[in-house]
Amino acid sequence: MSGHPKETVEAKLGLLDYKKAPETHIHIKDASPAAPCVERCQDKPCVKICPAKVYEWEEAQKKVLVAYENCIECGACRMLCPFDNIDCDWPAGGFGVKYRYG
């Protein structure tokens, strides 16, 4: 939790227990240079809204980076993507976020 004012998403995520899966459970279906993320998606709701800041737009590489290990498994991204370009299933059994309170 060090280095973050306590109201940031990073600090909030720092409170959580995760068991990081070896593989991502989130896939950008089309991550090619012709992907809708590059030109057509202006708002990038996945980047703006995801409550765990899983998605980040990397301007240099012109692609969405996915920090799947931050995911708190709400599922909103699938519906948020205006181009239906996010495939977010559950992490494999036993992996992912573990809520102590829930």
Partner: protein, 362 residues
């Protein structure tokens, strides 16, 4: 179980004022208490244990990846480990995202307008402080919902619940509204913490957990077909949430029980076809569940048809109430005139029209 609820409070809020309506009654606690606060992790463990005691077998730590089909019939599930489990009936209770209902072809992906996105924090606070701040007897609990400026122009509400030695503070608004506004729910939650109706109640507490969850709020309009051959859906997976009365857990538990009874009857007849399983829907209609969802099915659309609904009416309530309690040397008659002027400005007929759909939520 955290606390049995003795008081339920609704707060109508503007940025700097609020009017609250609270109902506190010892009657809520008589016999089996009317409602409890719970924390899902310990509650789910307890509830699963109850199921095990009743004879269920529990496989934890396994993710179900899809359904196994034999023609049109669902005959089991596939796990993330690659195993296949066979079943006479698969009952999908996998929550709002219900990948199972989707993979079984019962419904398409949900739309952002059919779900609310909620963000919540668990705030640690000693039990005595909670009881002092909410004026509670030892061990008893209170819940409050906030409507108005706290939803920042979006459709939704905020809540503050008392647990044993923590508070649950959260926001929930339509996902499409967050999308339009470009607001992250964590920021919304931070704004809520500063509201005068909340700030002093949570002061000095320590955030111990942050979480986010979708809530299916499409109601009956978004409910998928509930049965197919060898398959049933219950709970959030079937959109069984009554947002107007913020009920969901009770609906899910009722539906789970009725689905279980349906499967037991099907097993007795050795018929797991859709037709045999359709008695599930009849059972849901015969209890409170479907009738309640029918009552409130058009409420959200009616509120959304008045774009400033959650801004205007809480402000009106605050303005009228403040006028009622203001001592300023003016004759009360002048206050009354000012109050009527406020109401006439909106138009009495218009207000009657706008508020009429709310009768379903009373």
């Amino acid at each position: 179980m955290e606390r049995p609820i003795v008081e339920q409070r609704a707060v109508l809020a503007t940025e700097d004022s609020f009017v609250s309506v609270a109902c506190r009654s010892r009657k809520f606690l008589e016999g089996v208490p009317n409602a409890f606060t719970i924390l899902r992790t310990p509650f789910d463990r307890w509830y699963a244990k109850k199921a095990e005691e009743a004879g269920a077998e529990l496989y934890a730590g396994v993710t179900v990846r899809g359904v196994v089909k034999d023609g049109e019939r669902i005959v089991g599930v596939k796990t993330s480990e690659g195993d296949e489990l066979s079943a006479s009936v698969v009952l999908a209770c996998d929550g709002v995202n219900s990948m199972l209902a989707q993979k079984a072809g019962l419904r398409p992906e949900l739309k952002p307008s059919e779900v609310a996105l909620g963000a919540k924090e668990v705030l640690e606070l000693p039990a005595e402080k909670i009881e002092d701040r909410f004026a509670l007897e030892k061990g008893e609990g209170a819940v409050m919902e906030l409507l108005g400026s706290t939803s920042l122009g979006m459709l939704g509400y905020a809540f503050l619940y008392t647990n044993k030695d923590s508070l649950a503070l959260g926001v929930g608004c339509k996902l499409s509204d967050y999308q339009k506004k470009g607001l992250r729910p964590s920021e919304h939650l931070e704004a809520l913490k500063k509201h005068p109706a909340v700030r002093k109640l949570i002061e000095g507490s320590k955030t111990v957990e942050y979480s986010s969850h979708l809530i299916p709020e499409g109601g009956l309009h978004s409910m998928p077909p509930l049965a197919r051959d060898g398959f049933l859906v219950a709970g959030d997976a079937a959109q069984m949430v009554n947002a107007a009365f913020r009920e969901g857990s009770n609906l899910a538990m009722t539906a789970g029980r009725l689905a279980g009874e349906t499967v037991a009857e099907a097993k007795a007849k050795n018929d797991f076809s859709r037709a045999a399983l359709s008695t599930y829907e009849e059972k849901l209609r015969a209890c409170y569940l479907m009738p309640d969802l029918e009552e409130v099915q058009d409420l959200e659309a009616a509120i959304e048809a008045v774009p400033d609904f959650l801004e205007f009416y809480p402000r009106l309530a605050c303005d009228l109430a403040r006028l009622r309690f203001t001592v300023d040397g003016q004759p009360k008659r002048e206050h009354m005139k000012a109050a009527w002027a406020m109401l006439r400005e909106r138009g009495l007929l218009r207000m009657a029209r706008e508020l009429w759909p709310l009768r379903k939520a009373l």
